[in-house]
């Protein structure tokens, strides 16, 4: 790894890769070790990392990133329908189409900054969503979502074989990508995305982006044309969103319009802030946490709760179930909202700030001099 990345970065990458690849074991105690959720962990991890390349580095807060995610999904699905069940062309196609959308939307939106930029991106994304749900139904299959059917042409596949019987599923040169295969496939992309994000963050280009976030005026008077820098970051992050969207279709072959709604754009913002804006690992953690809430917290019904509190005497158990039931199951939104409030009040830098505080507290206790030995190139030391 030497030469490509510093020892510190290599350690971080290897640690991250180990955690990701061991998730099927690590997540088991939390009831999250099943392929579908772990696929989503990977996919939304990619989405959040991509979003963070724009928001974390340049400071431009996009409220419309779900559009690229959705466009990626639709593009991949059309590739499955028209070209081939192979995931590779679908992903390439999706990333390219998402990149084109990002280029156009980014070019227009980046003419403004601050909240004006945010609302422009929101407006573009909401237009995509509204139209996909209604008048573009011939392309998107609207409410029901776009799916594959046996009768699809799939011209590339037909060159080699007849349409096989059974439900078509995406594959990688014949290997089915559902279940655990899908997880490992997505995991490779998450690692690649993480690597890319690391490279960008540590590169001169990344430093320019941070410069834009810190002081755009100074950047201009320092001789940088900031708009193409921001646009490049926007397109990269839009393409990563498209990648995530296509992977969601690869592992779960349905493309629905809801994933383009403003709430979905908001979700990735929340993931990033929750985990820690501008950090490498933070957005991934934020993504995992929110998906965990959505899928697992929401499943704790009274039944599950009463067996969980089974050790309590009858009356106390019922009381515990009632109280806990407000926060899980149908009340999982409440827990999520409270979590946002608590995190942002007490840990403005997100979860990564908490991690940092704890580790520096430990370091201080354990003979403190290392604390000052931060690399001078990363004062924020957020990574």
């Amino acid at each position: 790894m030497a030469g490509i990345m510093s020892r510190k970065d290599a350690t971080l990458f290897i640690g991250f890769a180990a955690v990701v690849l061991l998730l099927p074991i690590l997540a088991a105690p939390f009831g999250a070790a099943y392929p579908d959720l772990l696929q989503r962990f990977m996919i939304f991890g990619i989405f959040a990392i991509g979003f963070n390349i724009l928001f974390g580095l340049t400071g431009y807060l996009s409220f419309g990133h779900a559009a690229f995610f959705g466009v990626g999904s639709y593009a991949a699905m059309w590739s499955f329908k028209l070209l081939s069940l192979n995931a590779i062309p679908a992903i390439l196609f999706a990333v390219a189409i998402a990149g084109v959308f990002a280029l156009v939307i980014g070019y227009l939106s980046l003419r403004r900054s601050g909240i004006y930029f945010s609302i422009l991106t929101l407006a573009f994304a909401q237009m995509c969503y509204s139209l996909a749900y209604s008048v573009l139904t011939p392309i998107t299959n609207g409410e029901t979502g776009l799916r594959m059917i046996r009768a699809d042409p799939r011209v590339l596949d037909r060159l080699f074989s007849e349409a096989p019987a059974g439900v078509p599923v995406p594959s990688l040169f014949g290997i089915s990508l559902s279940g655990w295969n899908g997880f490992y496939f997505s995991a490779l992309f998450l690692l690649a995305t993480f690597f890319l994000a690391m490279r960008i963050t540590n590169s001169p280009f990344g430093m320019m982006l941070k410069g834009i976030k810190s002081n755009q005026n100074r950047m201009n008077y320092t001789g940088f044309n900031t708009r193409p820098y921001a646009l490049t970051a926007f397109v990269i992050s839009g393409m990563l969103a498209g990648l995530a969207g296509s992977l969601l279709v690869v592992t779960d072959p349905l493309a629905g319009a809801e994933r383009m709604q403003w709430t979905a754009s908001g979700e990735v913002v929340l993931m990033t802030i929750l985990g820690g804006v501008g950090t490498l690992v933070g957005p991934v953690i934020g993504a995992w946490l929110i998906k965990y809430f959505e899928n697992i917290f929401s499943s704790f019904n009274d039944n599950v709760l009463s067996s969980f509190f089974g050790f309590l005497p009858d009356g106390a158990r019922e009381a515990a179930v009632v109280v806990a039931g407000k926060f899980v199951g149908e009340g999982w939104h409440l827990s999520l909202g409270l979590l946002f409030v608590l995190i942002v009040v007490f840990l403005p830098g997100g979860i990564m700030e908490g991690v940092r505080r704890i580790s520096s507290a430990i370091r201080r206790r354990g003979g403190g001099r290392h604390a000052t030995a931060r690399g001078e190139l990363s004062p924020s030391a957020a990574e």
Binding site: G3, I4, M5, S6, R199, I200, N202, S203, P204, F205, G206, M207, M208, K210, G211, K213, S214, N215, N217, R218, M219, N220, Y221, T222, G223, F224, N225, T226, P228, Y229, T232, R374, G375, E376, L377, S378, P379, S380
Partner: protein, 255 residues
């Protein structure tokens, strides 16, 4: 090397109106290569307007600003910088979220890579040349020991040094300084003057906008006095110092 007396910056017959207000009238300035040219004047004399016209932020109502044969009017800030013009602001404009070292490295990239380049596959750690240059520049301004600190945490005087370092590393042909000691303590002002004196010998052309006489007379090779949007006097420091019109403008300006 161009010969002495070569005009680097020419502000040619510039007028600027805001509605009916004449902010600048018939300004004609010539800045010689390698000289430190100060523009002074009381508050409201039009110094900031003039500077903004020079750097292209304001378009003149008539006339033009020519830098080394290129018309600056209508150019974007980054284009002007790429031509070799660096600027120091009244309140130091630095990258508060980056380390001091990164602050100085960033402009070096602008000089090396131009206004835009997607150089995302190299690590900053591997940019030895730029790093050494930046460290050298920090030594120069006396901030080497603070290179790992958040630039936002520096004192005002140190921020000014940092901003100067950011300009110096670009080796600009023309350095514009907008009241470089404004709002500074006596001590910070003196250290800044020392620093400016130190870099004076490097053959860089400088335009200083200032109303602090002490700063001006210790640095300038040539002084233009601006009052009411016009240049009322111009010459060597000693000539200007004795000019009654200048005295009057300053005293009148106070009232």
């Amino acid at each position: 090397m161009q010969t002495k007396g070569n005009v680097v910056l020419h502000v040619a017959d510039v007028q600027k109106h805001f509605g009916g207000l004449h902010a600048l009238a018939d300004i004609d300035l010539q800045v010689d290569e390698g000289k430190t040219h100060a523009i002074i004047g009381p508050n409201g004399a039009g110094k900031s307007t003039l500077l903004n016209v020079i750097i292209g932020r304001l378009a003149p109502s008539s006339g033009a600003v020519v830098f080394d044969g290129t018309v600056l009017t209508g150019k974007k800030p980054h284009e002007i910088n790429q031509l070799g013009v660096a600027r120091v602001f009244q309140t130091p404009e630095i990258f508060a979220d980056l380390s001091v070292l990164q602050n100085v490295m960033t402009p070096a990239f602008a000089r090396r890579d131009g206004a835009f380049r997607i150089n995302m596959f190299r690590s900053v750690d591997n940019e030895r040349g730029i790093r050494e240059e930046a460290e050298h520049t920090l030594e120069d301004v006396g901030l080497m020991d603070r290179r790992a600190v958040h630039a936002g945490a520096l004192s005002r005087g140190d921020k000014r040094r940092l901003e100067l370092a950011m300009c110096l590393i670009q080796k600009p042909r023309l350095l514009l300084l907008d009241e470089p000691t404004a709002g500074m303590s006596r001590h910070d002002t003196n250290t800044t003057i020392e620093l400016l004196k130190k870099i004076k010998s490097r053959g860089m052309t400088k335009v200083i906008i200032e109303h602090d006489m002490h700063v001006v007379f210790s640095l300038a090779d040539k002084i233009s006095v601006l009052a009411g949007g016009r240049i009322i006097a111009e010459g060597l420091p000693d000539q200007v110092r004795g000019d009654p019109r200048v005295q009057e403008a300053y005293l009148g300006g106070v009232h």
